[in-house]
């Protein structure tokens, strides 16, 4: 028979979980509107572009965390998935010229398939061996793109933004809203996964693969789901990039900065929850943008490196983990 304490605590938890999603959605919509109108007041297209960059990091860090944070499979090949999105977008631009909103799902599907393929090829690899395999994937794709003249090869390719875009006064504003939606979508997907059976399974897998299997978790299938979803979201974040920079070449699409930031941001924010990558990306991304304007963009990677070293030493579980530890100590 269920005891009163069980009923009470269960009901409380159920109430909080049922309120969670609509509340988060409302917060997203309200903060997005505030952000958009706040940036509009600055009357500067650079503000939208800077915000786009920060939001792109939110999307990338969140997507990386689904595989690297939840499942514990550290993917060093972020650039491969991002570039798949970028070059899918370039191919569509050079062939059928579909609108960006149609291009994004196609890019996500292409990068998701790449994730599924990578998952299959690395089914039995764990730890550092898995990470090296993902790094190799980025190198292989980079080599293919460098030698593929249709997408610009090593010389790169120019992408012209549409002259006009409906509902928006400039293309920068449109790109900002697209990336805002992608970032929010990634976060909501990550949060849903975290609170679902999939999140429980991935967390179990991360801690102890054999114990997870003995608890009924199909580890290989879970890994494939995580590589596919993570890959798709990384690719989706790359799709608008050609229209953002208007010139894409392999060093830009496969940039070290993309890979390093996508890994460092969740580590700094905390990998255990969806909020960690968001905090890491907002803090580090904003800091980098300020440094770019006030000092030099050349400092960006140095900033990431220094902050990462500090966090690994002082707060190895990131900001979220640090705050949680402090709270537990105070109890």
């Amino acid at each position: 028979m269920t005891s009163p304490s069980i009923t009470a605590s269960g009901a409380k938890a159920r109430a909080s979980s049922s309120l969670g999603f609509p509340l988060i959605l409302l917060i997203c919509v309200v903060s997005s509107a505030v952000l958009y109108f706040g940036l509009s007041q600055l009357d500067s297209s650079y503000a939208f572009l800077a915000a786009y960059t920060v939001l792109q990091f939110v999307a990338l860090a969140t997507a990386w965390n689904i595989l690297g944070g939840y499942a514990g499979y550290v993917n060093f090949g972020v650039a491969a998935f991002f570039a798949t999105g970028v070059y899918t977008s370039v191919i569509i631009y050079k062939t059928v010229q579909w609108p960006l909103l149609v291009t994004i799902p196609v890019a996500a599907a292409a990068a998701g398939l790449l994730g599924l393929g990578m998952g299959y090829l690395t089914l039995r690899l764990r730890g550092v061996f898995f990470s090296i395999a993902t790094l190799a994937l980025a190198v292989v794709l980079n080599t293919i793109v460098v030698n593929w003249s249709f997408v610009g090869g090593s010389r790169g390719v120019y992408v012209m933004r549409p002259q006009e875009i409906i509902l928006f006064s400039s293309y920068e504003r449109y790109l900002f809203v697209v990336m805002l939606v992608l970032a929010i979508g990634s976060v909501l997907i990550a949060r849903t996964i975290e609170n679902s059976w999939l999140g429980r399974g991935l967390a179990a897998l991360k801690d102890d693969e054999m114990a997870a299997e003995c608890a009924g978790v199909p580890s290989l299938r879970m890994k494939l789901i995580a590589t596919t979803i993570s890959g798709a979201l990384l690719g989706a974040a790359g799709a608008p990039f050609p229209f953002f920079v208007t010139y894409v070449d392999p060093p830009t699409a496969f940039s070290l900065s993309i890979a390093v930031n996508a890994i460092a941001m969740p580590l700094i924010g905390g990998t255990a929850t969806w909020l960690g990558p968001v905090i890491g990306a907002l803090l580090l991304g904003t800091f980098q943008q300020i440094a770019t304007v006030t000092i030099s963009s050349a400092l960006n990677l140095l900033i990431v490196g220094v902050v990462l070293v500090i966090f690994i030493t002082v707060a190895p579980n990131g900001i979220i983990g640090f705050v949680k530890d402090l709270r537990e100590k105070r109890r």
Binding site: I6, R200, A203, D207, A211, A212, E213, C214, A215, P218
Partner: protein
Amino acid sequence: MSNAPVLTSRGLTKRFGGFVALREIDFALASGERVGLIGPNGSGKSTFVNCLTGALQPEEGAVTFKGVDITRMAAWQRARLGLARSFQIPRPFRGLTVRENIEVPLAFVSGLSSQAELETRAEETLERVGLLAKSASSPKNLSQVELRKLELGRALAAQPEVLIADEAMAGLSDSEVDEILELLMQLNTKGIGIILIEHIMRAVMRFSQRVVVIVAGSKIADGDPQDVMQHPEVVRAYLGQ
């Protein structure tokens, strides 16, 4: 208790390179039976359990569960069929709370998808193993006996027909051993067949309806606990000659 075997192994052989860890082990567990599996350290008990539960693949022989050949099945498939285990060294999911640890098999083996139902069933399981008060704690904050209980709770949440408890009492005090033993006895009254791998002979003799002895990878005795303990080969293996 029915006499029909629910779990069997036939000619089970496992090698690690040139070393034969298990040699043609024949074994059968009847439905709802309590069997003690004993043997000196390194005799192959855990290897045998690993072959039964899918953590290791045997080179020769077959394992059947409820009449199904599960020899090549993955561990998660065996768990879903109703074969659960606890580990010699507790292996909790440290990133999850105690209740969430229990929710993993509830979601993946019992197929529960509603969060409300998961929480309620997890708390019921925790109450059965005496861990309800620790529901929201991290496994990092549990004592050794509580970790053992969490292992058993997680196995129990999978609603098993057979539970393999691999040294569930190792490192516990006498009163804690009694606590775990009592828990295992309770589970057995629900019809769960249990294989108890243990070095604590007091517990094995009290618990087991039958004792199986493995020495150097071979089964050397199988039968009534009192008879087995008098068996000359068992005496030689344990006391030397």
